[in-house]
């Protein structure tokens, strides 16, 4: 067997000289023997290899366009077996690479390893560092999520302030005036082709020159000279394994890399921040207001980078080397300080109480934290939708997001409804709707009913409850003309204290039956299965009878609903809102379109505006689709029907 292997090696050696190549690679002299301090360069090479490998496989599943970038990353992360781990390794190894690079650089400067004849190699190393930063920057955008989109957009806007050709540079980088398909195709070409290619092209001479000049040994030597194989290579591999373990811990602990909601050019992301290793630059800019910005963004960083490139020449003298070490300390220390400051600014509100003096700072931080939480909820929801049986439409996840009542409802409610209405689910509703407390939109001085839970059983019960019908959440809101109206009077007379003791049970049963019948009219998705039960169907039928006249025989005031309301074929329009399909999707849409229509409040309409009274959609404030989103959100019809069975969504 060994004879065969020997023959193959001989054959290869004759043609390619493999023996001397392997010998050269393995028996490099290590002055003073193997040491842990020599491992950092090798760990960087292994980190880069990791990125090449994981990056290639990610590339096989990635699709660069605005309708497919986020979607394909979502697919990698949530659908492909092991995809989350692949992304996690790529993501956290990028972080590790930046840190290892810092370490490698610091060691070279500290040890003065840049001195002649290693100047050229130092310069190549500096360029390599910039290439790695370029890789980090371009990679951040590729998932096309809110985080990457807005952070990169801020970055490229800054680039447009570069002296001379700034705007043109920005245009070339993003492939046009606005972010779009061509931004992604360009960034991918840079990230997966140009920059890694450049890195390889530079890494080869970097390693060759390293071998040519030999390892820069740190005095005093610890022992006799040794060769790269076996001791140093062993140490290098153990260190590389150590780096991988740390990366894996982060990747597994974090469940892979973060994926926020799909990039939405029209929706602000107030927590746009660069990745942590660029946070110092972001913070640095805050020091340079207005016109001075060009100093913070280009001139001063430019001076530092130039000085760093010149280190080998500055460091020729003893004093020069000291200057370099000083510069290193200033740069690393400055980066650490600025980073800490940036984090402290952002999370200030988490660690401090709001006072008069710190209000500006506190509010800015609070806005950041709120935006971050909101983004996390958006992401959770959109991922849930993308995973449902509906999948992502060909127009992309963004359209999924823009058509989702759960995500759009609260925003639309704030914009169009919250100046009068409030939306305060009580704790029972919370459970019922699976509503996060953040979904509460509280108007402290409402001049209209609380719309939380409209159409639900609880809502109908409250309207027929003598104690609740005229409270602030229902018809007793500030300035309500209905507070002493016919409905309130009827509910009090019919179901209140006038009911004789022996009739109480019959009246209560009648109310329950009417409530069931009305809840049935609303036809809210999550109630369907409960309403379909045979027993409930019986009470619904009874409730309908009561509404259309039966109630008059039970209650003291001898009236029933259809004396004022219309209900299917019974009753007349014109006195009170139509109860046919009361609080159903279409009923609510029509109501919001024009509450002063004959079918609803007519002349008696309070201050509620008509949002879409015209046939010509151009003249209306809202279109039917938008009203539908508000209505679906109010009704809690933002369910994900995965198994065909509607169920409220957790959180």
């Amino acid at each position: 067997m060994s004879g065969t292997i020997g023959k193959v090696v001989d054959w290869l050696d004759d043609r390619a000289g493999v023996r001397s190549l392997v010998h050269e690679a393995l028996y490099e002299r290590v002055p003073g023997g193997a040491r842990w301090r020599y491992v950092w360069g090798s760990t960087l090479v292994v980190a880069f290899l990791t990125q090449l490998i994981t990056g290639t496989f990610l590339w096989m599943a990635y699709s660069p366009s605005t309708q497919t970038a986020w979607e394909s990353v979502f697919y990698i992360q949530y659908e492909m077996p092991g995809g989350w781990l692949l992304r996690g390794i790529h993501h956290y190894m990028a972080h590790a690479m930046v840190m290892l690079l810092g370490l490698h650089f610091a060691q070279v400067v500290w040890d003065g390893a840049y001195r002649a004849p290693r100047e050229l190699n130092f310069v190549i190393g500096m360029v390599l560092m910039l290439v790695v930063f370029g890789l980090a920057l371009t990679g951040y955008l590729l998932p096309w999520d809110q985080k990457g989109y807005w952070a990169t957009s801020v970055g490229t806007n800054l680039a447009s302030q570069a002296p001379l050709a700034g705007p043109d540079i920005r245009k070339l980088a993003i492939g046009g005036s606005d972010y779009g398909h061509l931004t992604l195709t360009r960034f991918l070409a840079l990230h997966a082709g140009v920059l890694p290619g450049l890195l390889v092209v530079l890494l080869v001479p970097h390693l060759m020159l390293f071998r040519k000049h030999g390892l820069h040994a740190k005095e005093p030597l610890k022992g006799p000279d040794a060769t790269f194989w076996p001791d140093q290579l062993l140490k290098d591999c153990v260190a590389a394994l150590g780096v991988l373990v740390v990366v894996l811990v982060f990747a597994v602990y974090g469940g892979g890399a973060d994926l926020t909601a799909p990039a939405d050019p029209s929706s602000p992301y107030n927590a746009a921040r660069p990745e942590w290793y660029f946070l110092f630059l972001f913070q640095f800019l805050k020091w340079f207001p207005g016109d001075l910005e060009v100093w913070g963004a280009f001139v001063i960083p430019g001076i530092f980078v130039t000085l760093m490139f010149l280190m080998p020449w500055i460091g020729r003298s003893r004093a020069g080397h000291k200057f370099n070490v000083g510069l290193l300390v200033v740069v690393l220390g400055g980066i650490a300080l600025l980073t800490a400051q940036a984090v402290n600014d952002d999370f200030y509100a988490q660690w401090h109480e709001r006072t008069e003096d710190n209000s500006t700072r506190y509010d800015a931080s609070r806005a950041f934290i709120t935006a971050k939480e909101q983004a996390a909820r958006d992401a959770e929801r959109i991922i849930e939708l993308a995973q449902s049986a509906e999948r992502i439409p060909p127009t992309g996840a963004l359209s999924l997001m823009q058509n989702d009542p759960y995500l759009q409802g609260p925003k639309l409610f704030v914009q169009y409804c919250a100046s009068c209405h409030t939306h305060e689910p009580n704790s029972a509703d919370d459970e019922l709707l699976g509503m996060a407390s953040e979904m509460k939109i509280i108007n402290p001085m409402p001049t209209a009913p609380n719309l939380a839970g409209v159409g639900s059983r609880e809502w109908n019960l409250a309207i027929l409850n003598p104690e609740k019908v005229a409270d602030a959440h229902h018809l007793g809101y500030e300035g309500s003309p209905f507070v002493e109206g016919d409905m309130v009077t009827f509910v009090r007379d019919a179901f209140g204290e006038d009911v004789e003791a022996e009739n109480r049970e019959a009246v209560d049963n009648a109310v329950q039956a009417i409530v069931d019948a009305l809840t049935n009219e609303a036809d809210i998705l999550r109630n369907r299965s409960a309403l379909a039960a045979e027993k409930t169907q019986e009470t619904i039928a009874r409730g309908r009878e009561l509404i259309t006249g039966g109630l008059a025989e039970i209650v003291p005031n001898g009236m029933s609903c259809v004396d004022c309301h219309k209900f299917h074929d019974a009753g007349e329009l014109g006195m009170a809102p139509d109860l046919t399909g009361y609080m159903s999707r279409q009923w609510m849409i029509d109501f919001i379109k024009n509450p002063a229509a004959e079918r609803f409040y007519g002349d008696r309409n309070d201050r509620m505006p008509a949002f879409a009274p015209h046939d010509n959609p151009q003249l209306n404030q809202l279109d039917e689709h938008t009203i539908g989103l508000i209505v679906d959100w109010l009704r809690g019809d933002w369910v994900v029907t995965d198994a065909g069975e509607p169920s409220p969504v957790e959180k």
Binding site: W150, Q161, P265, A371, N616, Q618
Partner: protein, 188 residues
């Protein structure tokens, strides 16, 4: 030395030919690539005039209200009808008919300037620039933003509805301004 022999002349011609031929072979495809790469520079962007809403939606109470800017958006090979391409703030001062329009894009680095109802300032979340409700910078030149919020031209258009009712529409020219400059310069 000064008298070139035919041999050195031949070498010279060979050298020139090698260089020229080799350069053309490499540079031609490179040029073809560079031209397409530079193509975004030759494209000019236009500022669409957009109907943002009805005047009746905007009370004259001096309070900023956010309106989405809906227009067709073209991204390379796609045309997206009726997209939110941005966001603006409209403010109508008491007694005035015509509102003032600000783009929500921060003049500093292009983030979305936020406004919370009840606040007396616009605030940009990215680098904490703050603007008064008239768009000027709260801290003047000490503000991170190089200039105040950008005004957009507003036009009121009278339309008659099908039922004969007269309504006023608010139209805005949605100009995209370059960030980071002292002056408001539209992007090209």
């Amino acid at each position: 030395m000064d008298q070139k022999s035919p041999k050195t002349r031949r070498t010279f011609v060979a050298a020139i030919t090698t260089i020229v031929a080799g350069t053309i072979a490499v540079v031609t495809p490179l040029l073809a690539g560079v031209v397409t790469f530079l193509s975004p520079l030759f494209k000019k962007s236009a500022s669409p005039k957009v109907r943002v809403g009805l005047l009746s939606q905007l009370p004259d109470d001096g309070v900023p209200r956010a309106f989405p800017v809906i227009a067709n958006r073209i991204d390379a090979w796609n045309r997206y009808p009726d997209q939110r391409i941005g966001s603006i703030y409209l403010i109508r001062q008491p007694g005035e008919e015509k509102p003032t329009a600000f783009t929500a894009k921060c003049p500093h680095a292009g983030c979305f300037i936020g406004y919370t109802p009840g606040d007396d300032k616009f605030r940009c979340p990215c680098h904490t620039s703050a603007f008064n409700l008239n768009g000027s910078r709260v801290n003047g030149d000490a503000e991170v933003a190089p200039r105040g919020m950008d005004h957009l031209p507003v036009t009121l258009v009278d339309v008659t509805a099908g039922d004969g009712e007269k309504v006023h529409e608010i139209w805005v020219e949605y100009i995209d301004f370059q960030t980071g400059l002292k002056e408001a310069v539209p992007t090209t």
